[in-house]
């Protein structure tokens, strides 16, 4: 077997005391099983939410409605399926690349069970509507703390500890990518999740409006970078050359694409917020760094595909390599498409449409999914020490999965571009060609049906993997062979090899020095100093972050104050929490861009100063339904009431879930005081009268309910004043109206 330790290792290392060690493969098996199980969950929920868009009657009750299930799908796909896949790769390859067992078996176990518990907590809280309302960071503060402890604490110490006690002098490129993932995800998660708790399961982020949006997409974009890209590049760098049994194409390319990727990726987050109320300078930075990111990303693809030179014949027979080739190809396509979508004018069309959805699914289904499947088919015979049950089944999985992805992305690309073009189409009079939003939704239905087929095929492939997994496991030996490996300990007295001579024949001294530098021996030295290497990664990530974050928070002109913008009333705040809990932001944006097609449809474009009390911001990222930034005052209470109860009754063909249950679900008025207090801590100027928040909320609720009863000509409706229905209507009627109000008197003298 090619992965047994070569005896030549003793000659290349420092010649310390020979030591014996056994790899911990049990933990790898556990992570691999978890990857499979959560993969099934993630894909199944994915198919369900896809079906809910085509068949809205599948929204069942509050718990299984699209707004709550969609975050469950994304969190399960990213953190449960891809996360456990990453840990499988890290725990298997790190031990071998370091010639060492993991630093601590206890930490390995704590990491595994801690992570699974977090996932279970997520799977319970999200359908219950317990959410922060920030995409891919929905989990509430106690779970956030657990994530920080498990990731940075258990996993971080275990991983870095293994690097420190390694027996291989230099760290291979896969480990660099693992280091970057560990460090960056810790920083991103902690800073994006900073919040003030209002109760055990409810908190408000410390950032508001524009700044919250900035931090959220700094996080959101770099979660893609450091959770779905860098660890998978590490996975690729280990498993692809192992499976192909070929040397890696270019060591120098690994160095340059690693550092450029780590440094440049961090800047690109604001490309998620083009044309929004985010300052334009940040938007420009986001676009330019995304364009610069294209080649650093492709460095990984080149090193992946070019490593297969001399092994392409194997691709025809080996499903592992098939998965890897298609996975890396999807990586290449997604990382070309990313910079393309970050160009402002392209983004003007694509933003809020299914184009983004297609883009991320090409990435997750194609790149993350297929890299994990390839790895699993390679690992199954090695971890269960018996041949794979069926290569044919694995190949079938590959083809079903590939067809599934293609059906998914092609239909959803079509849907995205179709809807984007319909939204902006004007007739010859300069009025909207498709004034009724629902027309643009109904047009997508055939594409949504195809998506369900694609997703089901992908899930079906997973069933084949499950069968292969189970049958291979069944054939395992009664007792696993645990070979004892031997390698000399590293000694301190290591001298780096001499720098190679300059290759330049005639040049200045500086030229020669530059040439020697380009040969990369300095980097070779870093590769044997894991702590220093980690520090440099931290510096790269943090510096890039601060370059954007500091001006974002310090320059006042980024968010010009609007005197008439006031904090939400206690009832409106409660209504806003209902809006967040129901996941309304999954389908409705609250951000009108400065384009005529938007302002004609929705009203005046959104200004930065309108969001200063929005903890969290709710700008959204996809318009499955229309934008709501100016919904306040646009409809009657009665309209909202009828619409929430039965959307298709008012809007024929509407695919929105029904929220009639809110009419009987009571508001916890006494609980509002704690929320207001949390807001006060965040500096929201509520003034002195605010220790009677429940009373104030009750009064407003009764007023709105009585107005509703008059509008509907139905006096008993006034009785529902203490329900979530009224609180939500109170919030909806407030959204986006302040800007049109006269400024309060105190504000005079400003400017």
């Amino acid at each position: 077997m090619s992965d047994s330790i070569e005896p030549t290792a003793t000659t290349t290392s420092g010649g310390g005391q020979m030591e014996s060690f056994v790899y911990d493969d049990k933990i790898v098996r556990m992570f691999m099983l978890a990857t499979f199980i959560w993969g099934v969950v993630a894909f199944l929920v994915g198919v369900i939410v896809a079906a809910q868009l085509a068949f809205p009657q599948l929204n069942i009750g509050p718990w299984l409605s699209f707004g709550r299930l969609r975050p469950l799908h994304t969190n399960a796909a990213i953190f449960a399926f891809a996360g456990n896949g990453v840990f499988t790769a890290v725990y298997y390859s790190t031990q071998r690349l370091c010639k060492a067992r993991m630093f601590s078996d206890l930490l390995s176990k704590l990491h595994f069970w801690g992570w699974q518990l977090i996932i279970v907590a997520a799977a319970l809280t999200i359908p219950l509507g317990i959410t922060t309302g920030k995409e891919y960071a929905e989990l509430e503060w106690p779970i956030d703390i657990a994530i920080a402890v498990v990731w940075a604490g258990f996993f971080g110490i275990n991983f870095i500890g293994t690097l420190i006690k390694r027996r291989e002098r230099h760290m291979y490129v896969a480990l660099w990518f693992y280091i970057a993932s560990l460090v960056a995800v810790s920083v991103l998660h902690i800073f994006n999740s900073l919040a003030i708790p209002a109760s055990f399961l409810k908190s408000y982020p410390v950032y508001a409006g524009v700044q919250d949006a900035f931090i959220q997409w700094w996080y959101g974009h770099n979660a893609v970078a450091f959770f779905l890209t860098t660890p998978f590049l590490g996975l690729m760098y280990y498993f692809l050359p192992k499976a192909a049994n070929r040397p890696v194409f270019s060591y120098r390319l690994s160095i340059i694409h690693f550092w450029s990727l780590v440094f440049i990726y961090i800047w690109a987050g604001p490309h998620h917020l083009h044309y929004t109320a985010l300052p334009v300078w940040a938007s420009t930075l986001g676009m330019l760094f995304s364009v610069m990111l294209w080649m650093p990303s492709w460095g990984g693809m080149i090193n992946g595909l070019m490593t297969l030179r001399g092994a392409w014949n194997k691709v025809t027979t080996d499903p592992v390599l098939k998965f890897f080739v298609v996975g890396v190809t999807f990586y290449g396509m997604s990382t070309f498409e990313g910079p393309l979508l970050s160009v402002k004018t392209v983004n003007a069309l694509s933003h809020y449409t299914d184009w983004t959805i297609a883009h991320v699914h090409a990435g997750t289904l194609g790149w993350n999914g297929f890299m994990i499947f390839g790895m699993m088919y390679w690992l199954l015979p090695r971890l269960f020490q018996t041949p794979l049950y069926s290569v044919k089944l694995a190949t079938t999985h590959f083809w079903i999965g590939t067809i599934g992805i293609l059906l998914y992305v092609m239909s959803i690309y079509t849907a995205g571009i179709t809807q984007g073009l319909m939204w902006r189409a004007f007739d010859q009079n300069g009025t909207l060609a498709y004034p009724d939003f629902v027309e643009t939704t109904l047009r997508l239905m055939p594409m949504y049906w195809i998506r369900i087929i694609g997703g089901t095929l992908y899930l079906g492939g997973m069933a084949l993997l499950g069968w292969n997994f189970f049958m291979t496991w069944k054939n395992r030996p009664s007792k696993y062979d645990e070979p004892v490996n031997q390698a000399p300990a590293l000694t301190k007295d290591y001298t780096d090899p001499q720098n190679p001579p300059s290759r330049l024949s005639a040049n200045t001294d500086l030229g020669h020095k530059g040439d020697v530098w380009l040969r990369g021996n300095w980097h070779r030295r870093w590769e044997r100093l894991p702590v220093r290497f980690t520090v440099w990664v931290v510096i790269a990530v943090v510096t890039a972050s601060l370059f954007e974050a500091i001006p974002m928070f310090l320059i006042r002109s980024n968010v010009p104050t609007i005197a008439s913008v006031m904090p939400y009333t206690p009832l409106e705040l409660e209504g806003r929490d209902i809006y967040i809990a129901e996941g309304c932001y999954n389908c409705h944006s609250q951000m009108i861009r400065p384009m005529r097609a938007e302002t004609v449809r929705y009203g005046e474009y959104s200004k930065p100063g309108e969001f200063v009390y929005d903890h969290p911001f709710q700008w959204g990222s996809r318009r499955i339904g229309p934008d709501l930034a100016r919904v306040g005052g646009k409809y009657s209470h009665q309209w909202h009431y009828e619409h929430l109860k039965n959307p298709p009754f008012l809007i024929e063909g509407s695919i929105m879930p029904k929220y009639g249950w809110m009419e009987t679900s009571k508001v916890d008025f006494e609980g509002i005081q704690a929320k207001i207090n949390a807001m006060l801590m965040l500096g929201v100027p509520y003034g002195a009268e605010i220790d009677t928040a429940p009373e104030i909320a009750r009064e407003q609720a009764k007023l709105i309910a009585s107005e509703l009863a008059v509008q509907a000509n139905d006096p008993p409706l006034a009785e529902i004043w203490d329900t979530k229905m009224i609180a939500l209507i109170a919030y909806l009627q407030r959204v986006g109206v302040d800007i049109g109000n006269p400024a309060p008197e105190e504000a005079e003298g400003e400017e």
């Binding site: 270019s250 009079n429 909207l432």
Partner: protein, 215 residues
């Protein structure tokens, strides 16, 4: 680029020289990074900085908001340029009711803003039927303007004065007025009182009528 680098182990094959790196059986080639890769990477960097300077600091750059304002101004001029000095009285509104260009534009606006309560046909749903002959809050065309502009809070009719310009509201009043008596199928039952018929006035003379007639 390099014939025989000192840090390779001298072995290699048609695909490159091997470095003396070995990790769990994985080797690495000393291949250079592809030239086109460098060119595009450097090209992207060289594009980025001049672009930022051009877009944000040069006189040739433009702001997204200025571009938007210009777009709106151009549209307003094109659509409503000849209507600058009209006021919301019965005669003016009545004189616009027959104008095909404006009424078809308002049909689009009606579908965006009003249809959610009054249906695209005007037949009414949460809001009253606008195609019958009775009215709840209106006795004249000018009062339609007032209702659209200021809303009717008790009835849940929003005030559109914030979102639509004066001219647009005048035109919308004309459009709503023109729906009277259409009695679309499936319309909501009558609410309110019968009122006097709209005044009969000559259509407003507009230059664009001639332009369209010749085109």
């Amino acid at each position: 680029m390099s014939e025989q680098p000192s840090n390779t182990n001298g072995s290699g094959d048609a695909y490159g020289d091997l470095l003396d790196h070995e990790y769990d059986g994985i080797h690495e080639y000393d291949n250079p990074t592809p030239g086109w890769w460098h060119l595009i990477f450097i090209g992207a960097v060289l594009f980025a900085f001049p672009y930022a300077v051009f877009f944000h600091w040069s006189p040739m750059g433009w702001s997204i908001h200025e571009a938007y304002d210009a777009e709106v101004a151009a549209h307003t001029k094109k659509m409503f340029g000849e209507l600058t000095d009209i006021s919301p009285n019965d005669e003016t509104i009545a004189s616009l009711m027959g104008n095909e260009k404006f009424m078809s534009a308002m049909q689009g606006t009606f579908a965006t803003k009003c249809a959610s309560c009054h249906l695209a046909s005007g037949g009414g749903m949460v809001g009253p039927n606008l195609t019958d002959d009775v009215y709840k809050n209106v006795k004249s065309l000018a009062e339609i303007y007032t209702v659209i502009d200021q809303g009717v809070t008790a009835a849940g009719m929003p005030a559109w004065g914030r979102q639509l310009s004066d001219i647009e509201i005048i035109l919308m009043s004309a459009y709503v007025g023109s729906l009277r008596g259409e009695n679309v199928a499936g319309g909501k039952g009558p609410e309110g009182d019968a009122i006097a018929p709209w005044p009969v006035v000559a259509p407003m003379k507009l230059e664009s009528d001639n332009a369209e007639a010749t085109s």
